[in-house]
Symmetry: C2
Subunit: 157 residues, 2 copies
């Protein structure tokens, strides 16, 4: 039916427009951080924030870089003070990477800023409107299914 297709097209367009708005929020929260660390470096920090300390191998696997690449990337963010290398007592050939307090702050701050930005946008709306948005967003997120963290890492989220 023509009408259904029209409606579907409008729905996708609305979602695209909303996605632009949401991405603007994300971009704002990332922009500041990217003046401090590079995107690949931020990916590492975000991953450590959500997963806790990780082995070099696991970390490299997760963000999709070779061990040699990761090793030198870690060199740099250790030097900058965002993470710490720890040899695991149980197996001394394994190296654990963990966020320093400074690294933790960096990630937390970016995420908080994002949340605040969204809250500020919503604050202009009535309770009914907020309620409608909550339901719709929850519905969409469910329909989209689990978003794999690997995908999100591409954009450093």
């Amino acid at each position: 039916m023509i009408h259904d297709e029209d409606f579907d097209a409008r729905a996708a367009d609305a979602a695209l427009t909303a996605s632009r708005a949401l991405m603007g929020v994300v971009a704002r929260s990332v922009a500041g951080v990217l003046e401090i660390v590079t995107l690949p470096q931020f990916r590492v920090l975000v991953l450590l924030d959500t997963s806790g300390p990780l082995r070099m191998g696991v970390l490299g696997e997760a963000i999709g870089v070779l061990p040699s690449t990761l090793s030198r990337a870690i060199d740099r963010i250790v030097e900058a003070g965002w993470v710490r290398r720890t040899t695991r007592p149980a197996s001394r050939r394994e190296v654990l990477i963990e966020l320093t307090p400074a690294g933790q702050n960096l990630v937390t701050h970016a995420l908080e800023q994002r949340r605040d930005n969204i809250a500020k946008i919503l604050s202009a709306l009535s309770l009914d409107q907020k309620s409608a948005i909550v339901s719709a967003f929850e519905l969409f997120a469910r329909a989209a299914g689990e978003t794999s963290s690997e995908e999100l890492l591409i954009l450093g989220i």
Copy 2:
């Protein structure tokens, strides 16, 4: 009131979750492209797609890089065949950059894929649900206001 704050928090959380879902869609559409061009290069292509041919100076200003950086970046994507250099007839010291058909395809394809992904997610929903999502997304996008393209460029959108 406590209840309002609780509700506001839930609203922001729902928006954050939805943003993660939408960002996943974006990330998928960008991931493929990033195996072909770098993020800064893709930023140039997206900007040319939305603004049409641009002078070197304007282009560099828009994406926030020095002229020397841009000049060499353009060298590479000219070499790769995504854009073309044109000297403007009116003022022969100005150089216009424009997408080649190949470059146009690259950007268009990424955007279409993003739209298709969203459409596919929505296709699982009932008409009522879609309708609710459309209204809510449109509402949110309006509340968020215009998202400047400079911000979006950060993420390569």
